[in-house]
Amino acid sequence: MSAFQLLNGLTYAALLFVVASGFTLIFGLLRIVNLAHGALYLLGGYIGFAVATRTGSFALGGLGAMAAIAAVGFVLDQGLLRFVRGNELRQVLLTLGFAFVLDDMALVIWGGDSFTVPIPQMLKGGMRVFGVFYPTYRLFVLATGIAVFAGLWLLLNHTRLGALIRAGVDDAEMVEASGVNIRRVFLVTFLLGSALAGLGGLMGGAFLSLYPSADAEILVFSLAIVIIGGRGSLVGVGVGSLLVGLLNTLGQVMFPELAYFVIFGPMALLLAFRPLGLFGRAATS
C-alpha cells in the first residue's frame, strides 16, 4: 500500500469514526440500535450542503447540519421511540421505518442527483505529506476525526456528564437509583450522537458526495465498526474505524468490484472468537 492509499484509508477511517462514534454512543447507553443513523448522515449532508451554498460558509454548514440533525433526533427519540421504550426489537424496527421515511423525503426534496459540498478556499488544493502530494481537505477530515476522538474522550472521562454516560452504559438502573435523571442523560446522548451523524454528513458530502444510497453504505460500515469494536466503547469505535477504513481502501485497490467483501473477513473472524466485539462487554442487566 502506498503512502497515498494509506492516507486515503486513514482519512476515510476518520470520517467513519465521526459517524460511528455517534452510533455507538446511542447503542451503548440507550441500547437503541438506531438504523436511521445512515439516513441522518445523508440528511445532515444535504442540509449542510444547502446551508453552506447559501451562506458561503463551510463552518455554518457544519453547525446547521449538526443543529438540524439533533432536532430530527429529538423528534425521533421523544416523538416516536418513547412509545416503545425497553423493547429492543421494536425500537430497531421503528428506527428502520423512520429511515425509510427520511430517505424518501430527502429524495423528494433533493432528487436523485449527486451533490458535493463546496470546500472552503483555505482547504482547497493539496500539500506535501510523507513525500506525497495530498488533498488538504482530506487531511482536514483526518484532523477533525482526531479532534472528535479527543473531544469525546475528554467528555467521557473528565466531565460529570461523561461519568454518568459511562455509568449508564454499565448499569442504567443503578445510576437512576442514585438520584440522577437518567432520561435527561439519555436524551443528551441521543442528540449528541445524532449531531455527530449530521457533522459526518457534511464532512463526507465534500469528498464522497451525497446521493440517495450513500446512507446505506455509511450505515453498513457503521454496523461493521460497532460489531468489530463492541458496544459503547470509544476505543472500540476508533480501532473499528481504522480497521474498516484501511481494509476498505485496500479492498478497493486490490479487488475493486468486491470491496465490500473485504470488511466481511475480519468481521467473521472476530465474531467466531468474540461475539461481543473487541472491546465489548456483556450487558449487566
Binding site: R31, V33, L35, L80, F83, V84, N87, E88, L89, R90, V92, L93, L94, L96, G97, F98, A99, F100, V101, L102, D103, D104, M105, L107, V108, A216, E217, L219, V220, L223, A224, V226, I227, P256, E257, L258, A259, Y260, F261, I263, F264, M267, A268, L271, A272, P275, L276
Partner: protein, 328 residues
C-alpha cells in the same frame, strides 16, 4: 403435547377439521384466476410468493426468537442465480431453479455460521450487515450481476407463460412449501427451536446443542426463502440490486409482523395486506417508501402482534396462551 382424552384422527399430521379448512382455502385460491383480471392474477401470484418469504422469516423470528434482516438477500441471491443460469449460461429452468435454491441455502449457511452465536439486537445487526454485503456485491460486481441495470431473462418454461397457468403452478408450489414449513415447525426439531426461543439456558442445560439447532433452523429457513426467490425470478424475469436490498428484507419482515409473528400462515395475510396497500398507495402517490416506513412505525407502536396476533388477543380462545412474541 399432552392432550387428555381421545386423540383426534390425523391425516398427514392434520386434524380432519384442519383438512376441511385447507381444502376450502385452496379451492378458493385455485378458483381466483377465473374471476380476476390478468393484473390482479399477477398481484395474487406475488402475494403467494412473498407469503412464502414471510413464512421463511417467521421460522426464525416466531419459532427461534431470532428476527433476521438478511432474508431479502438470501431470497435475492436465489433470484440472481436463477436468472443468470438460465439467461447467461443457457440452462433450462429445471436446472436453474434448483441451482438458485442451492445458492440461497449456501448463503444462508454462511449467514448462519456467523449469526447463531448472537441473539436479540446483535442477531438483527449482523444479518442486516451480511445482507448489505450481498447487496454491495450485486451492485458492484458488474460483469456478473449487471450492476445497477440488473439481469433480465426469460426463466419461465413455455407451458407456464400464461398468467393463469403460472399462478396455478405457484399455488401448487406454495401449498407444498407451506405444508413442509408447517411440518417443520411442528416436528420435534421445530419444538427445540421453540424451546430455544423461550429459554436458551434451559435448553442448553437439558443437553441440546443450541448453536447447532439454530444453525439448522437458519439453513432450513434460507432454503425456503430461496424457493420464494426462485419463484419470484420466474414471476418477474428480472432481478436488480433492489431485489436483494435491505428494502426487500424489510418488506419481508414487515409482512411477517403484519401477519403475526409465530403464526406461520399469517405470512400470507401480511403479504396480502402489504401488497394490497402498496398497490392502492401507488395509484395515488409515488411515495411508497414513505408509506412503507410509516406503516412500519405505526405497527411497531400500535400493533406489534400483527393482524392475526391482535385478533387472537381480542378473541381469546381457550387453551391458547397469549404470547407477545416480539415483546422480549
Amino acid at each position: 403435547m399432552t392432550d387428555a382424552g381421545p386423540q383426534p384422527i390425523k391425516i398427514a399430521g392434520m386434524t380432519s377439521r384442519a383438512i376441511v379448512v385447507v381444502v376450502i382455502v385452496l379451492a378458493i385460491a385455485a378458483a381466483l384466476p377465473l374471476v380476476l383480471s390478468n393484473y390482479q392474477i399477477g398481484l395474487a401470484t406475488e402475494m403467494l410468493i412473498f407469503g412464502v418469504l414471510a413464512m421463511s422469516i417467521d421460522i426464525l423470528a416466531g419459532f427461534a426468537g431470532r428476527t433476521s434482516l438478511g432474508h431479502g438477500a438470501i431470497f435475492g441471491v436465489s433470484g440472481y442465480v436463477v436468472v443468470y443460469a438460465s439467461a447467461q449460461v443457457g440452462l433450462s429452468p429445471a436446472a436453474a431453479i434448483p441451482l438458485g435454491i442451492i445458492a440461497a441455502t449456501l448463503v444462508a449457511i454462511i449467514f448462519a455460521l456467523l449469526a447463531v452465536r448472537t441473539s436479540g439486537v446483535y442477531f438483527l445487526l449482523l444479518t442486516l450487515a451480511l445482507g448489505m454485503i450481498v447487496w454491495g456485491i450485486c451492485l458492484r460486481w458488474t460483469q456478473v450481476t449487471g450492476g445497477e441495470n440488473g439481469l433480465r431473462g426469460d426463466v419461465r418454461p413455455a407451458f407456464l407463460v400464461g398468467h393463469r397457468g403460472f399462478y396455478w403452478a405457484v399455488l401448487v408450489a406454495t401449498a407444498l412449501v407451506s405444508y413442509a414449513m408447517w411440518r417443520f415447525v411442528r416436528s420435534p426439531f421445530g419444538l427445540t427451536l421453540l424451546g430455544i426461543r423461550d429459554s436458551e439456558s434451559r435448553m442448553k442445560s437439558l443437553g441440546y446443542n443450541v448453536p447447532l439447532h439454530l444453525f439448522v433452523g437458519f439453513a432450513v429457513s434460507g432454503f425456503f426463502a430461496g424457493i420464494a426467490g426462485a419463484l419470484y425470478a420466474m414471476f418477474n424475469n428480472f432481478v436488480s440490486p433492489s431485489t436483494v436490498a435491505l428494502g426487500q428484507s424489510v418488506e419481508g419482515v414487515l409482512m411477517m409482523i403484519a401477519g403475526g409473528v409465530g403464526t406461520l400462515f399469517g405470512g400470507f395475510v401480511g403479504a396480502a395486506a402489504i401488497i394490497t396497500l402498496e398497490n392502492v398507495v401507488s395509484a395515488y402517490t409515488e411515495r411508497w417508501q414513505t408509506v412503507l416506513g410509516l406503516t412500519f412505525i405505526v405497527i411497531m407502536i400500535f400493533a406489534p402482534d400483527g393482524i392475526i396476533g391482535t385478533l387472537r388477543a381480542i378473541l381469546p380462545r381457550s387453551g391458547r396462551t397469549k404470547d407477545r412474541y416480539i415483546g422480549n
